[in-house]
């Protein structure tokens, strides 16, 4: 035991200076014995205050570790292993001496086998966790909520949504304080962009920028459940078929519900009609808000209207494929799948002050005139928010 200690102190040659070393100072003095993990902060202060001691001790540990590996694992005889370990550690010390002090410190840390061991533990843990998750999924041991939301699936696809949100469309979100931190609310937004990316981005906004995170559940048109794969994707991420029954059930569960009253007329809007709100359906969202007694939060999404500049619609192809509309853009369908890539415009999502219509009463909500008036109120609020944002926007792609 003392033999190895003596030998490892001998080889330390850090910083070029001849460091007198002796048996009187075992490396255990500089490094806690037993090879426990020192927190990074402590390790840094240790290095800063006693760079030579620390470096020497680490080189000694490296040599010791190398010797053990060479003799136990590689199967070299003791003499040869000792010789090799000594040579390697001397070389490491010399080469590190030529480096600047901070790099040397970093390297000294990486020379610590405990760092690598720790990394190994972390990687092994991650691999094990992933394997267990995959196994649970293969055995059907996962939970879906009443509408098919799968939180594990949502967490798995969220990075893609975050990427689009932060780096692709660089979404700027304001007014999230108007969204209740808990309890139900009906978010009413303008709709555009051929594919419903705006709903996805609103959901990413409430998931990533709210504290605590909330999942906004979009009501999607009847066409989307008929599409393979997209139907599963929408359902597993908590999107729900648009109907008063579903909306009321969700609101009574205290969820945030996003509704696009423009429907197909909005999402299939022509480029020249951008930022002009289409008719707000039949005002069903007003009746839902009154029936559930929840506030309406107007939402204005700017930028989504330009991701696919739709210059025309083909009624013939729409009929043929059973689509509600068939978009013709400068790139689609001419470039095939490439035409589906949306343009990287700069987005903003503004949440407006809540509009409280819940005290209107069931009787008023049954009257089309009152419903129309309330719907118009919400519509003009969103239109105004859109215009405010557009007035400040200098460029479609740079914001």
């Amino acid at each position: 035991m003392s033999e190895t200690n003596g030998f490892s102190l001998e080889v330390v040659d850090l910083g070029g200076a001849s460091a007198p070393a002796g048996r009187s100072m075992p490396p255990a003095a500089a490094e806690p014995a037993g090879g426990e993990f020192l927190p990074v902060e402590d390790r840094l202060t240790a290095v800063r205050h006693r760079p030579h001691e620390e470096g020497r001790a680490l080189l000694a540990r490296f040599a010791e570790e190398a010797r053990r590996l060479l003799s136990d694992r590689v199967g070299l005889d003791d003499r040869r292993a000792e010789e090799l370990a000594r040579r390697w550690s001397r070389r490491l010390g010399r080469s590190s001496a030529a480096l600047p002090a901070d790099v040397r410190q970093t390297l000294a840390q990486y020379a610590d086998p405990n760092v690598w061991r720790g990394m190994g533990y972390v990687l092994a843990y991650l691999a094990r966790a992933q394997a267990q998750a995959a196994r649970r999924r293969a055995e059907g041991r996962y939970e879906l909520d009443d509408f098919g939301l799968d939180m594990a699936f949502l967490n798995a696809v969220l990075p893609l949504g975050k990427y689009l949100y932060r780096y692709y469309w660089r979404v700027e979100t304001t007014g999230l304080e108007h969204v209740p931190k808990e309890g139900p609310a009906l978010l009413v937004s303008n709709h555009s962009g051929v594919l419903p990316f705006d709903g996805a981005m609103i959901a990413v906004a409430t998931l990533t920028e709210m504290q605590p995170p909330r999942l906004a559940r979009t009501l999607v048109a009847d066409w989307f459940p008929t599409l393979p794969f997209l139907s599963i994707l929408l359902q597993r991420t908590g999107q729900v078929q648009a109907s008063p029954l579903n909306a009321l059930r969700l609101l009574r569960q205290g969820e945030l519900v996003v509704v696009f009253p423009e429907g197909y007329k909005g999402v299939g809007k022509l480029y020249r009609d951008r930022y002009q709100l289409a008719r707000f359906g039949r005002g069903g969202f007003i009746r839902i808000a009154v029936a559930a007694g929840v506030p309406i939060v107007p939402v204005a999404v700017v930028g989504a209207e330009e991701i696919y500049p739709m210059i025309g619609r083909s009624h013939l192809l729409a009929r043929l494929f059973g689509f509600p509309y068939f978009p013709i853009t400068p790139t689609f369908p001419w470039l095939g799948p490439l035409g589906v890539i949306p343009l990287p415009t700069k987005w903003s999502i503004d949440f407006g002050a809540p509009i409280h219509i819940e005290q209107a009463g069931q009787r008023a909500a049954a009257n089309p005139v009152v419903v129309n008036r309330l719907a118009e109120q919400v519509r003009s609020a969103i239109q105004q928010m859109l215009l405010d944002r557009l007035a400040r926007r200098r460029s479609v792609f740079l914001g």
Partner: protein
Amino acid sequence: MSALPSRTLLITGVSGQWGRLLAQRLLGEPSVRLLGIDRRPPDPPLEGLDFIKADVRNPLLPELLAAEGVDTVVHLATVERQWRREADFENNVLGTMQLVGACAEAGVARVVLRSTTALYGARPDNPMYLPEDWPLKATPTYGYLRDALEIEQWLQEFRQEYPELHVAVVRLAHVLGPSLVTPLSRLLTQPVVPCLLGFDPLLQVISDEDAVEALAHAALSYLDGPLNAAAPGAVSLVQAASIAARPLLPVVHWPFLQSLPLLSATRAGRRALSWFPVEPVYLRFPCTADIARLGDVLGWRPQHSAVQAVERFVAAQRTARFRQSPEAQRFADDGLDQALRQRRRRAQTVMDIPVAGLEGDRP
């Protein structure tokens, strides 16, 4: 005896899988006299059941109901088959009509029918969890669903004319359990589970125990009109197949669904469709029912959740082949049960005085 008013229940189709389970459940109920009719006697016989051999379409049925003082009839004598046959149609649709008519004529207070939530239809514009008053929009091709739809549509007219006869319709979700063979249980016990590529709808299921319990509660309560019965929660098709450890066989939906009318018209096509015991459209869109009324009206909630029902079913399937037959069956050839029954009947005829002319119909 308890203070509950004594009731006389009659179960039709008592020898079938459903009738047998419900009879076993209701035989344990105090102050209930249980009668059962079917075309064949229950095998093995049910202890305590007053079995009468009769078809539901028998014109003498009103007489029997009146003579026995039956106050509740539970109709379970329907046959479920994938493709409609004339005999099944006559038994299911005409038989149910005849039976309900007989009940109205004999002054029976209540009829309980078993139906299915599939009648709401699997459609892309379906909200989740449809209430009982939701219109029945199914457009079925399979026989058992066509029969069930026809019965319910007829019943809506009938109930307007005869409001005094309470007809409770228990609409069950996919029933899963070791003791019953149902479309979904057949789908999940196939070597592969066919599904539609890119679709994974939520399925609503109910365990066999809960389904029988719902029927029993409906029979013993004063329920009128339709009632959805399903386990709380839902399970997706892929999840159910994963729990059952069955590989999925995805089928591209468009050509398959387009050729469905052609397939169902040919013999080879029907053989291929036997891999789809559940109608393909139910593997594409959701068809789920709201169970709020179940708790409100019956004051009872299913014991197993949707996932638990699937797990229970799968566990029973896995252990089915290892389970030993009951001890009594080893001595079935002795015929001791027959002898016992004969002796019991002899003892009864000495004690009882025959009350109705129908006494002789009993086996």
